[in-house]
């Protein structure tokens, strides 16, 4: 067993399977006591079960670590508070929050229902807020803490059929940058991971997503499948999370990292690429005259107009 997180207490939401499970296992292996939170539902968020969280707890204990299960829904304030309370009640403190919980309800925008929108925003975006808000009260008092949230390339770059998921995941990135500023002065760091992994969420593609992509002829990911994409396991994401959760990463605050297999990248935020300026207010005619030769150079339409079939 490693000792990077000796004497730390962590909570990981959505850690009954996939990426979250890999994180819970590694944090425990590095010495942390872990609250394993998972509602135990389907990828689409329906149903619930104690089994996923219980199995991870059992595995941690079998490996000589300490863990306790929690089955609360992160989408409610009480749920978020209760997960923090579980850490305090069982382990006496809390140092690390990793918010992984999430679901998919893929649908093209023109077909997306209110329920599909609300459910995805609730679990990912509000589900990150509830846990972080509750933890931040404690972290501010104790003047230390680690928060790691989960964004996605679907939010950073956009992926067709995922207006709800892209909104939630880019929203989490923005939230992370803002909260890093709220909490940094108290010795807390807040960072986000954009993962690439072959997990239940990406492999057992929900029927809705399967139908969308079959109907529109689009692949599940924008790029062609590379060897890295074939071999990226959910557990590969965990090492960077463990490092960010440690005391050694105390100066890393407000950043987004992309983790996929053996590749870890620091992501930039959107930055100035090209600027057009005049003194005074533009007219539309002036913009029309100037745009293509300046801002519009090399500009690619990610989804050019197609003739009807």
């Amino acid at each position: 067993m490693g000792n990077l997180l000796k004497d730390k207490v962590a909570l990981v939401t959505g850690s009954g399977r996939g990426i979250g499970r890999g994180i819970a296992l590694l944090l425990a292996e590095q010495g942390a006591k872990v609250v394993v939170n998972d509602l135990g539902g389907g990828v689409d968020g329906t149903g619930d079960s104690a089994t996923p969280a219980d199995e991870v707890v059992n595995q941690i204990r079998a490996n000589g670590g300490e863990a306790v299960a929690n089955y609360d829904s992160v989408s409610e304030m009480e749920g978020g508070e209760n997960i923090i309370k579980t850490a305090l009640d069982n382990f006496g403190k809390l140092d690390i929050v990793v918010a992984v919980a999430g679901i998919l309800r893929d649908r093209m925008l023109f077909n997306m229902t209110e329920e599909e929108w609300d459910a995805v925003i609730a679990v990912h975006l509000k589900g990150t807020f509830t846990v972080c808000k509750a933890a931040s009260i404690l972290f501010r008092q104790q003047r230390s803490g680690r928060i790691i949230t989960f964004s996605s390339t679907s939010g950073l770059f956009g992926n067709s059929g995922q207006a709800n998921y892209g909104a939630a995941k880019d929203g989490i990135a923005g939230f992370t940058r803002a909260v890093a500023r709220d909490l940094g002065r108290y010795g807390v760091t807040v960072n986000s991971i954009s993962p690439g992994a072959n997990s239940r969420m990406t492999q057992t593609v929900p029927q809705s997503a399967r139908d969308i992509r079959a109907a529109s002829g689009m692949q599940a990911s924008a790029s062609a499948v590379t060897p890295l994409e074939l071999n990226r396991e959910p557990e590969d994401v965990a090492p960077m999370v463990a490092w960010l959760a440690s005391d050694e990463a105390k100066d890393v605050n407000g950043h987004v990292f992309h983790c996929q297999g053996g590749q870890i990248s620091l992501m930039s935020n959107p930055t100035e690429e090209r600027t057009l300026r005049k003194n005074g207010r533009w007219t539309v005619a002036e913009i029309d005259a100037m745009f293509s030769g300046t801002l519009g150079m090399d500009m690619v339409n990610p989804a050019p107009a197609q003739s009807p079939k």
Binding site: F110, R177, D182, T271, A303
Partner: protein, 306 residues
């Protein structure tokens, strides 16, 4: 009057004041018929009033343009559907949607209430989804259309006391990038604006923000002074994006203020470490600070307790 938008019909939400009002007036001056939507609430989102939307409509009409006031709450599905329907009922078509509507409920994360979170997410983020979802049904059928949404540097960079606003605004940015990919093949474009301007939202800071920043002088934004950046400065570029001339501008984000229009990049992988297989924690402890995170600046370094 110029005529880049002759024969077009536009909806502008949050068009009763500030940036939205500027956009509505500009679109009308370019020849569009405009549905001027505004609930007429306070900056915190309380109350309602018909006056802001009606005043903008009056100004448009007295300049020779065509407009209709609309007071629907666009943060519900029914509201989004009804405003799109109202464009069809009154003007027979819809070509342009600009979602500007938004409120502020600034609060440090550890003090932020559920209401403060929910309201900001609802008005900005859901209020963008509702109108765009219903517009997109029509746009797909007619194989044309424009969506322009309003994101913010608050989400791109992070601003103290705005966890809710940053989440909502970055959420809008993510939503827009996906809308661009869902709709582009139908001849529709969706783009986001990050504005800077001197408006009610930035100047008449709500009590919550005023208190927050009074307690923390070191947190005041270091952005350039906004007093020379007028809300009307945003509108010409919005009108351009709404026009037929901008048919291939899709999925982009622009920072717009004063006389400046900046194309923003997507996020980029700027530093990468790689190995075959899975990283060992011990390997990362060495390599991460040496390469991945070397010299990164903490935007809010730890401070001693007062």
């Amino acid at each position: 009057m110029s005529n880049y938008l002759d024969g077009k019909v536009a909806i502008v939400t949050g068009a009763g004041r500030g940036i939205g009002a500027g956009v509505a007036k500009q679109l009308a001056s370019e020849g569009a018929k405009v549905i001027v939507n505004d609930l007429g609430a306070t900056l915190d989102g309380d109350g309602t009033s018909n006056t802001p939307a009606e005043q903008v409509v009056e100004e448009i009409k007295s300049s020779g343009g065509e407009a209709l006031p609309n007071f629907t709450d666009i943060s519900t599905m029914e509201g989004g559907e009804s405003i799109v329907q109202s464009a069809l009922d009154h003007y027979g078509q819809l070509d342009i949607v600009v979602t500007v509507a938004g409120i502020l409920r600034d609060r440090m994360i550890f003090n932020m209430t559920e209401q403060e979170w929910d309201d900001v997410i609802r008005v900005h983020l859901k209020g963008t989804f509702t109108v765009c979802k219903y517009a997109s049904i029509l746009y797909r059928q007619q194989r044309s259309g424009r969506i322009i949404t309003f994101a913010s540097e608050s989400g791109l960079i992070g601003n103290t006391g705005q966890g809710n606003y940053a989440a909502a605004k970055s959420g809008i940015a993510g939503f827009t990038k996906v809308a661009a990919k869902d709709l582009g093949r139908y001849g529709v474009t969706a783009n986001s604006i990050c504005p800077r301007a001197n408006t009610r939202m930035t100047q008449s800071v709500p009590d919550s923000s005023r208190q927050l920043r009074a307690d923390r002088p070191e947190d005041r934004e270091t952005a350039p002074p906004v007093d020379q950046m007028e809300p009307e400065d945003i509108a010409p570029f919005v009108a351009y994006l709404a026009s037929d001339q901008a048919a291939d501008i899709n999925g982009q984000t622009f920072l717009v203020y004063g006389g400046v229009i900046t194309k923003l990049s997507l996020p980029r992988r700027i530093r990468t470490i790689f190995k075959q297989g899975r990283w060992d924690v011990e390997e990362l402890r060495n390599l991460a600070p040496q390469h991945l995170t070397q010299n990164l600046v903490n935007p809010s370094p730890p401070q001693q307790p007062k």
